[in-house]
Symmetry: C2
Subunit: 512 residues, 2 copies
């Protein structure tokens, strides 16, 4: 097995010269050999890529700067059709230079890995090519949504409620914000800010995902009225600070109405204290949203669910992205509400011309009027198929396995404390650390040393990319300059891969 | 070729019994025969489906009411993993009961058809499974976005500008709204409605897509401040009415700031008069947005671009969905801005922890900070590959072909004026008509007759679905009760299919 060979994927002489006009559905045929040959060749390439990606001797990426990459690729769109053979080559070329996000040494994003079953599901989704607004045109997928989303709500701890899939966690958080505002101020939809007795204020920790703050900009509060609550040194929201800030804003005559707690912060993987935040929300009559886009997968884990999610059933809404920790293909994000009926009353614009009520079937299955996107991509099938491929028990064990690998990484970092500095014991699969190059080993750890360690993060990262052997992210946070944050969410990772990561950073950085 | 045979797709005895745990990437192998066999079997099923879908003797759907459908399918998620063979069967079962949206007799949605090349592109997208926020993890796809989006802006008539792909036209319209507000009131982002000297008001025709009105609900204006401008009997916004309503709102001390014109309305396919609206926007200093989600494809057509899009280069922003008329796979929506730099200054939340500035490469290629979703699905590859498969010239001719088929349909309706009543000459591929059953032929056309014709639309529609032979939509509008609206956006449709549609409606409805 070697890297993608762009020249390998040859169509027969006859098919090679054809163009898209010569295959189904332009060609009027109930079975076309040329169409089959073209699609089979694409499938062959993709299956090769899946196998190659899993080969640890393969590079993760073949890095080129944008201007150089443009010269390696033929990206322009010609006036005339290219041949089927050229299209196959285009596909091969694209994969040759794409970053292998499913490679076992890719620890770079919250979404790592390639679940082969979920991928097969996404192929089918493409082929079925339907839109999710009505049972009329997506009967099977609409029913799957019902089954999976109600199962997720049961796992959260709710019997009823309502849910929807959204294009990413940021939009899921936006749905929560909108429903909260609508629930508290049902006239807002028609009358806007005029309907309110004062300015709305929302609260979230300073470690939250930036999409929470973005709601304030998008929806008319202004980011000034998204109050950032300080977090402790582990990155967890401080409840006493939340209460102090709510009182401060109330004293100004403003209306605290929405509190976000994060279950798994982006950088540190911290879990805000759910019960303490829930108590405050109850006391001050605020909507309680939990952004578990990242940590949500641990709801499936018997071993790690508590104490992280203890009290989760008390929240009003929760964002949970199966495309992150659970490894469903991108994108797959869900938002769940304790109260049924809010999504539709908040978002429907009564587009009778699209969502007719005089239909043949029970239109309560139609979802188009519940959402702000109108048409929705089918994001359920890949998750449904993947979940069946593991079973609920197996999915929970898979979550445990990822956490155990992160624990293994922590153990290995501690065992090599001359070379690595563990920033904190993680609550999720985010492991935050500095690499200590030779010249700094034995030097006492202080702010000045941190500045030195921070400087080498971008250098090691660029060496990783140039050598193509490893991908691990780094970033600063409010308390610290640049540090590495590895993520173990790939189904492909083993303990040996974790060791490879640490050894490779050492190899790339020891001269720094 | 017959319908999907759920039992046909047999894995070898050895592979059939395995589960997801036994294939890549859980199995540590650099090439796994079982993984190949599983994926090849899925590909075989999908290629069969593509061929079956194109067989005109096949039913489009096998309709069952939701409660019955649940009994036919096994949708539940078990505690334990199902086998690979069961997963293959799950896929086959799903396709057996899914509506064939690419069938040549599916005229039901704005998005009909299945472009096989675009589908192959989406398979690759699934396999590459990356997120579009940075060049670091999506180098090839980010460059493709640049190439395709700047080509689209050139076609619009702009040399510079900026664009982004969004999850559907509704979110694209939301981007336009946000950029407009930010451009006019840059303090709004921080200070919200407090930053404004008065209430904002937006304008759109009463035929617009409901997502325009939804912006007013989401973003804090309230739907009261989304003014619906009357349209003429062809569904086109009346400029004099727009000006009158702007003046009326100004007289109230409100601030008109945003006007939407629709290029291809959802029901009638009407094109609002662009130059006339542009003049009014200039006069009253309003942002001029064009929602060409539906009609945008005609920008590619030398034959049909004018007069529909004459003056389009005068707009400030334009939504254009290649997943509609152009037949790219769902979803593929674009939003374009005349002014560069607005997207980032409007939407960035300075999430330094995600979008670092000390990187190895030119970070102007990173897009994460420009968007409200953070992570974005890769929606470019399917469009890029499809566009290359046709060439720009060929894509334009394909648009012409769809329009010519709609003209053919109009001609055939007129030729059978005893059986069909054409509601108007269409400007797009939407053809609006009533079917006249035997008992009503020869009766003079008046409001009372329209009520009768309207009543039979849902009946014929349910007969279509029960017989599975045809799918055409119907809806009421502001002027008329229920009428049929057929859409020709499928690459599979021929003149014979158009004749089939009309004949089949006649067959299903003549006794009514």
């Amino acid at each position: 097995m070697t890297s993608i060979n762009v020249e390998k994927y040859k169509l027969s002489d006859k098919t090679a010269k054809l163009t898209a006009k010569d295959i189904i559905p332009v060609v009027q045929s109930s079975d076309s050999a040329e169409t089959r040959e073209f699609l089979n060749k694409i499938a062959e390439l993709l299956v090769d890529y899946v196998n190659i990606q899993n080969d640890r001797k393969e590079k993760i990426l073949d890095f080129h700067h944008p201007e150089d990459m443009k010269k390696l690729l033929t990206l322009d769109i010609p006036e005339d059709a290219v041949t089927l053979q050229q299209l196959v080559k285009d596909c091969a070329m694209t994969l040759k230079y794409q970053v292998k996000t499913g490679h076992p040494h890719f620890f770079n994003q919250l979404s790592c890995g390639l679940d082969v079953v979920s991928m097969a599901g996404e192929w089918l989704t493409a082929t079925a090519n339907t839109n999710m607004f009505t049972y009329e045109i997506a009967p099977v997928f609409i029913l799957m949504e019902n089954v999976v989303l109600s199962k997720m709500r049961k796992i959260i701890g709710w019997d009823g409620g309502d849910s929807i899939l959204a294009p990413g966690g940021s939009i899921s958080n936006l749905y929560a914000f909108l429903a909260a505002r609508h629930k508290m101020f049902p006239n807002y939809k028609e009358h806007g800010a005029r309907a309110l007795p004062g300015e709305l204020v929302m609260f979230t920790s300073d470690q939250c995902h930036y999409s929470v703050k973005s709601c304030a900009a998008v929806c008319g509060l202004g980011t000034d009225n998204c109050v950032m609550v300080p977090s402790d040194e582990h990155g967890r929201l401080i409840p006493a600070e939340l209460e102090r800030l709510i009182l401060e804003r109330k004293a100004r005559g403003q209306i605290p109405f929405f509190v976000n707690a994060t279950a798994g912060t982006t950088v540190l993987g911290a879990f805000d204290p759910i019960n303490a935040v829930a108590d405050i929300c109850e006391k001050y009559n605020c909507w309680f949203h939990v952004d578990a886009a990242w940590g949500g997968g641990l709801l499936l884990s018997k071993k790690y669910r508590h104490p992280r999610f203890t009290g989760i059933e008390r929240c009003d809404s929760i964002t949970w992205n199966p495309h992150k920790l659970m490894g469903a293909l991108l994108q797959c994000s869900t938002i769940h509400f304790k109260e049924d009926g809010l999504l539709i009353s908040c978002n429907q614009m009564s587009a009778e011309y699209l969502f007719m009520t005089d239909k043949l079937y029970d239109i309560s299955y139609d979802t188009g009027d519940k959402v702000i996107q109108c048409g929705r991509h089918n994001d359920i099938f890949k998750l449904w198929l993947q979940w069946r491929s593991k079973g609920t028990e197996g999915f929970g064990k898979h979550m445990d396995h990822l956490m155990e690998l992160a624990e293994y990484e922590v153990k290995r970092i501690k065992q090599q404390s001359d070379k690595f500095y563990l920033i904190m014991e993680p609550e999720c699969v985010n492991v935050s650390f500095w690499y200590i190059p030779k010249r700094l080993r034995g030097v006492p750890h202080d702010a000045k040393k941190e500045q030195e360690l921070a400087k080498i993060c971008p250098i090691i990262k660029s060496r990783m990319m140039m050598s193509g052997t490893l991908m691990v992210g780094y970033q600063p946070d409010d308390r610290r300059p640049n540090f590495f944050r590895s993520i173990i969410s790939s189904i492909a990772v083993t303990e040996a891969d974790v060791d490879f990561m640490l050894n490779e950073i050492d190899r790339l950085g020891q001269d720094l």
